[in-house]
Symmetry: C2
Subunit: 196 residues, 2 copies
């Protein structure tokens, strides 16, 4: 069974793409991130909520502040990556619904309760994190997504409004020397998929 997506693209996005643990010194530019965003912004979210927000951590000072909240095992590679993206859910995404989902003007009112919109922001922003990781690879770059950090610390440090929840931190760059561990196995189809 062959896919419609051509094999080179399959390799670039999935089969040969790997989580990088080291990077070269080549910079990652804002133009590259903008090109990635302009592709993955089309990925679907419930009611077009688009709750993902991205903080690009570039300056030495911001890098240091971020490092303090990363878990021990992630600190060194985060300091060394050409660019680090903090990916967070905007729990006030519903403010954008009147412009982003115009054919259903009542959409915003469905999210009057904070708990309801936090749940929806998290779910949809995580789908968008998945799209973003694919987008980094589409740009010919390697992504190093990490979930080991003090979330409350990052939220306070980088989102002073109290309305954002960090989800994943991603190192971005060109893979350096010994960038990969041996690829871990994957679950077999029959372990994952059942039919009823």
């Amino acid at each position: 069974m062959s896919l419609a997506l051509d094999p080179a693209a399959q390799d670039l996005l999935f089969r040969e793409a790997r989580t990088a643990n080291t990077f070269t010194d080549d910079p990652v530019t804002d133009d590259q991130i903008e090109a990635i965003y302009d592709l993955v912004k089309y990925g679907p979210t419930s009611m077009n909520q688009q709750p993902l927000r991205i903080v690009l951590v570039r300056s030495a000072e911001a890098r240091e502040r971020l490092g303090e909240h990363m878990s021990e095992g992630n600190r060194k590679k985060t300091a060394a990556a050409p660019l680090v993206a903090v990916l967070a859910a905007d729990n006030e995404f519903h403010e954008e619904l009147p412009s982003q989902f115009p054919h259903f003007p009542q959409a915003k009112s469905l999210f009057a309760e904070r708990a309801v919109r936090e749940r929806s922001a998290k779910l949809n922003a995580l789908l968008q994190v998945g799209y973003f990781i694919i987008g980094v690879r589409a740009a010919g770059l390697a992504a190093g997504p990490m979930t080991g950090f003090d979330a409350e610390g990052i939220d306070k440090e980088f989102f002073s409004d109290g309305e954002h929840s960090v989800l994943v931190v991603v190192n971005i760059g060109r893979p350096g020397e010994n960038a990969w561990f041996t690829r871990s196995p994957r679950l077999a189809y029959a372990q994952v998929v059942t039919t009823v």
Copy 2:
């Protein structure tokens, strides 16, 4: 700024791909789903957790059972789609870690607490839902992801072990007549991305 991914693949996966609301009668085969899985299984998860589980709802009887838990607005299209995939997090994913993350034998013990592994299962399975939606498009098919349903009802109906949490339900097929609404706008780069 151009991406490494060729423009036809960009269109297939993001720019021209749309959430389908109607489908043709063309069947979606198990072979197609297996080809999709064999591609997207390589998408990264924390410690290779791979918590996503997929139930393909094919039989009329199962379709009926699912329909009862879908929200009113989603019921008809779920009944009409050639194939419906229920995507869930396996909250017992840690049982697979000894085989899936063999170079760190203590991994499983990090998830002894149910609340810890539920949180991690949800986060990583949602990344995998993102990869899966891209994979459906890579197969030349349209996806119709939905979050409007009674989650507790679906969990009880389709996962009798009490260890799975449904996240997203996806209609899959070839787009039918009037399959798309007008594309909604997307947030501008400056509304989503900031640099520090």
